[in-house]
């Protein structure tokens, strides 16, 4: 592209909700007035110190933030064994898996639920893949006494039973979605359809940095608490900024949250890790940036897995949370600008990283950050020994032990 590089990577989106050509508001007219209402309400809430104070109170006392920045010493030493004597980055984990509900999703959910209350909405809907966003939304709805309906692909309902049960315990209704491929993409379609039919009283709490403007911006803003904390914590621990940041990418919310506060630090390398499923050479993966091309789905222009006729293709990943054929518009833009590198990790690599992390650090990660860890194990040994690497450990693996056991041939 011949466009001049922007002097800041942190100014997006523009007034149309675009990051370069990506983003926008591609929704049916029925939803458009509501999308504009959300945008206005969010802009007003952001200007209000009391809104921010209430959100931060919840993050501190309910979620348990700030989450620790953990020096993964055994992992660091393990990866240095196979490296040259001057190589092998020092690895830190940003431990968002310690949040209440077990993942980073709750950060943006609480912000959105506070917004929904300000807007006078009395019902909440959400889509979920792995169930983490659904659990987080059900949790916040229990706390604020709001009825909650979570749309979840029937395939995901099957493979994420523990989270389905959690959502029900929390008082949410889980609606299995059987249309299309019955995964996250279809759950989002169905949530949007439900929203169209219930615009008056319902707020749609989107779980990732995708969807029509202002969602990609809003979810990013809330998740940026991850990167902002990381910045303070690494300065306190090391007295300098990190050299590299790693995070898994499905829709891209945990990565966007970690990366955004660092985007204008040219010395900080950023690596987003997509699910390469059974391999990028196969058709079974979820690598929208590496194997897709720009398209419009779910209200925004983004990199999308699609066939030659613009029909959306099914994604595949062992991780239900990464099993999505698109990726947020800001990632799409950063990919084209080359500010962030995007690489893949396969199902098998993620499974290996999942076990490695459990044994070396005593932390069972979710399959989503296990993908980021797989890329870390590949790239950290080639980085200088004095370099600092932070990986977002964005979720814990409790929900995944059944899936992993199955893949390892263990009967439970």
């Amino acid at each position: 592209m011949n466009l001049p590089l922007p002097n800041s990577f942190r100014q997006g989106p523009d007034a149309r909700g675009r990051f370069g050509e990506f983003g926008g508001r591609f929704v049916a007219e029925t939803l458009m007035p509501l999308i504009l209402e959300v945008e206005q309400a969010y802009a007003a809430a952001r200007r209000e110190p009391a809104f921010d104070a209430e959100w931060r109170r919840l993050l501190t006392h309910y979620v348990g933030r700030p989450s620790p920045l953990w020096h993964a010493e055994r992992l660091t030493e393990h990866l240095r064994k196979g490296a040259a004597s001057d190589k092998g980055a020092k690895i830190y984990f940003k431990r968002d898996e310690l949040n209440h509900t077990g993942a980073h999703k709750i950060n943006a959910v609480l912000g959105q639920i506070l917004l929904a209350r300000r807007m006078g909405k009395t019902r909440i809907i959400a889509e979920t893949g792995a169930g983490q966003h659904g659990v987080a939304t059900a949790t916040a709805c229990a706390l604020f006494d709001l009825p909650c309906t979570v749309f979840m692909g029937a395939t995901d309902v099957e493979r994420q039973q523990p989270n389905v049960f959690r959502m029900k315990l929390l008082g949410a209704e889980v609606r299995p979605v059987t249309s299309g491929s019955a995964t996250l993409k279809d759950a989002m379609n169905e949530a949007l359809r439900y929203w169209v039919a219930n615009v008056q009283d319902t707020y749609y709490c989107i779980g990732t940095v995708a969807g029509p403007h202002p969602y990609p911006m809003m979810v990013r803003d809330f998740q940026s608490v991850i990167g902002a904390e990381t910045r303070e914590q690494i300065m306190a621990a090391e007295g300098r900024l990190p050299d590299a940041l790693f995070a898994a990418i499905g829709g891209g919310s945990n990565a966007m949250g970690l990366f955004h506060p660092f985007l204008d630090e040219p010395a900080v390398r950023m690596v987003g890790v997509e699910a390469a499923g059974r391999g990028l050479h196969t058709e079974e993966h979820a690598a929208s940036l590496e194997r897709g091309r720009p398209g419009v789905l779910h209200g925004n222009r983004m990199y999308l897995l699609q066939d030659d006729d613009g029909q959306v293709q099914e994604a595949h990943s062992i991780s239900a949370g990464l099993d999505y054929p698109g990726v947020g518009p800001e990632h799409s833009w950063l990919h084209e600008l080359g500010r962030v590198e995007y690489v893949g990790a396969t199902d098998d690599e993620a499974l290996a990283a999942f076990q490695l992390c459990s044994r070396l650090e005593g932390i069972i990660p979710a399959l989503e950050p296990a993908h980021a860890l797989a890329a870390v194990t590949r790239l950290a040994p080639g980085m200088p020994r004095e370099s600092l690497l932070v990986m977002n450990l964005c979720g814990r693996g409790d929900k995944d032990i059944f899936t992993v056991a199955k893949h390892l041939g263990v009967a439970m």
Binding site: G24, E29, T30, L34, G180, L297, D309, G310
Partner: protein, 273 residues
């Protein structure tokens, strides 16, 4: 004047509203789809709306979702949809044809080329559901240059402040989505419609058609009386689906059954009952 303007002007002289029907191209197979489309003008359809199949139709209910999947399975692509329109045009030069669908397949085809090819194939207008006026520059200049009308949806949620903006970006006719909801799920009340249509007319001289939730001949007649036309989609798609065999293939009477459904709608619109 365009075929769309001609047709609505003629109906106005006749003193009745239009029957607009929606069926998905290639549902359940290209031959059946073409046979039904060719039969529509004779069965009393005034404006033919053809769905462009998409994997993820955000504004459509289960019936049209399934119909899109049948059509895609039968090999539907945008270029084949345009070929279908050319085949239809060989026998009918006057009935307006409107394509309805979603943006991504058009982007994939190339917006410029699509608009040019669609116009050359005999298409008169486009309804692109997920392109609100805010995103109109994605396709409107190209459509206008090709001489295609951009028919826009107005919803019950489109307030008075927003109406002029949406209408300014509309040509051909206005498609009033009578319910807040997806296609084929519920119906608006007479009172709602009686209030909604004059509100739109205060802002535009374009013909107004009512769609979403119109299933029966009586509902079609009422909508065509209150507004300038009634759009029936899901009910016909359901009729088609019910006529298929267990494997989703057309039966010998599929074309006739669908056209019979159309005829009863057309009769109701003409007699006002």
């Amino acid at each position: 004047m365009s075929r769309i303007a001609d047709r609505f002007a003629a109906l106005k002289r006749e003193g009745r509203g239009a029957l607009v029907t929606y069926l998905q191209a290639y549902d359940p197979d290209p031959a059946t789809s073409l046979a039904i489309l060719r039969g529509l003008p004779g069965a009393g359809v005034d404006v033919i709306e053809i769905g462009m199949p998409f994997t993820d139709p955000m504004a459509d209910g289960p019936s049209i979702q399934k119909s899109a999947l049948r059509a895609l399975k039968a090999g539907a692509t945008l270029s084949r949809v345009l070929a279908l329109v050319r085949d239809l045009r060989r026998e009918d030069a006057t009935t307006p044809v409107v394509l309805m669908g979603y943006l991504n397949p058009i982007l994939s085809y190339g917006v410029d080329r699509f608009c040019t090819d669609a116009a050359a194939s005999g298409v008169d207008g486009l309804i692109v559901v997920d392109v609100p006026p805010e995103e109109a520059d994605e396709i409107e200049p190209q459509a206008r240059a090709a001489g295609l009308d951009m028919i826009r949806l107005i919803a019950p949620t489109t307030d008075d402040a927003r109406l002029p903006r949406v209408l300014a970006a509309t040509t051909g006719f206005v498609y009033y989505v009578s319910i807040t909801g997806i296609t084929g799920t519920r119906s608006a009340s007479t009172a709602d419609l009686a209030a909604a249509i004059p509100r739109i007319r205060r802002h535009t001289a374009l013909p107004v058609c009512i769609g979403f939730g119109i299933r029966s001949p009586a509902q079609a007649a009422e909508a065509a009386r209150i507004a300038d036309g009634a759009v029936v989609g899901t009910a016909l798609v359901d009729t088609l689906a019910a006529s298929l065999d267990e494997a989703g293939r057309a039966r010998p009477d599929t074309v006739r059954v669908v056209l019979d459904g159309v005829r009863s709608l057309a009769e109701a619109v003409r007699t006002g009952r």
